[in-house]
Assembly symmetry: C2
Homo-oligomer: 203 residues x 2
């Protein structure tokens, strides 16, 4: 049990320990770091977090985080607005953006259908997705959801609601072996999928 000898330190440790994955020992390291910093640096730190909380918007089109009314991706004319990638949350947007492989736009559902957690279709941004698909006719909807029962359920639910149009393609992420993985460590389901959905070999 850590003994801090200061209420101020103890309160700051408690607060840092609310961050995900941070215990009291690491929180104490953060506190000692803050005590060593000059005042201006700590002010910059606090201001960045306060502004994050106070100034951040939700993009009115795709529900991504946004600095203004629409997010940088929706506002970018170089992005293909007819290819909509459906994701669970903003973390997934960041993950896909970080690959640099996608030039379309996103739609953030804000969750995933999960009866166990009490999350139903009504809790997700499905209606606005359907409006988008129709308003500016989308050519492709990509389900970039987790390879879980909840992900499949959510994709299936939305798929049934999408308009049946010959010029609308609905796709999902490829399942297969991870790049760099040896075959022996891959579970049977994934390996099976990767054989069934094998792709043309190219160099």
């Amino acid at each position: 049990m850590l003994s801090f000898t200061s209420r101020l330190v103890e309160k700051a440790v408690e607060q840092f320990a609310t961050l995900p994955g941070i215990g009291r020992k690491t929180a104490l390291r953060f506190v000692l770091h803050v005590l060593r910093q000059d005042k201006a640096s700590v002010e910059t730190f606090l201001a960045a977090i306060r502004q994050l909380k106070e100034l951040i918007h939700e993009c009115k089109r795709c529900h991504n985080i946004a600095d203004g009314e629409t997010c940088d991706i929706c506002a970018d004319p170089r992005r293909d607005a007819t290819t909509i990638c459906v994701v669970e949350n903003i973390q997934d947007v960041i993950s896909i953006e970080s690959t640099g492989q996608f030039k379309g736009v996103y739609h953030v559902l804000g969750g995933i259908i999960s009866p166990m957690d009490g999350v139903g279709p009504g809790d997700l941004h499905v209606d606005t997705l359907l409006q988008r698909v129709t308003a500016q006719p989308a050519r492709e909807v990509i389900f970039a959801l987790g390879a879980t029962i909840e992900g499949d359920t959510t994709a299936y639910y939305i798929y049934k609601k999408l308009p049946r149009r010959d010029d609308l393609v609905v796709t999902t992420l490829a399942k297969g072996i991870a790049v760099g993985n040896d075959l022996e460590y891959i579970d049977e389901l994934t390996l099976g999928r990767s054989i069934v959905n094998r792709i043309r070999f190219s160099l």
Copy 2:
């Protein structure tokens, strides 16, 4: 390379990533956590850190962190003020306090003699220690410094400056095998010390 699509998020990630041991991926998890929290929780978080920085004092007696003029330990009449434990920094005070095994008081040097890092005796709170030892005659000075060349140098330097009094005992932390350790994993120096400084067996 993470792509955040929001300057506010990016700035907050950068700031969290200044914390020791925190990379941009973990910083992003903190940012997403902050975005999920309600406003009051985030305010509490920010206030604890601001107050830590603005209200913390240095104990005028022992240089430990203090909420007021003197720290909780120096202000506690149940602590033995004639037994002074000399440590490098406030982290060491917290470590020793957390053992619950010490009932004396501390003296925080604020560093350790290290010519390589440009830290000399003049940079440490040695003078105030000598004053304390004399002003209220101390009966024991304990060197609780790291088992390093710097720690030994610092202890030796202070030892030479301490008054030669028959009623003043100068001690240092026991070096030996860590509790729970098997002998085969212990370095020769430590094992050698633990044999030379062996103690009476007791149950």
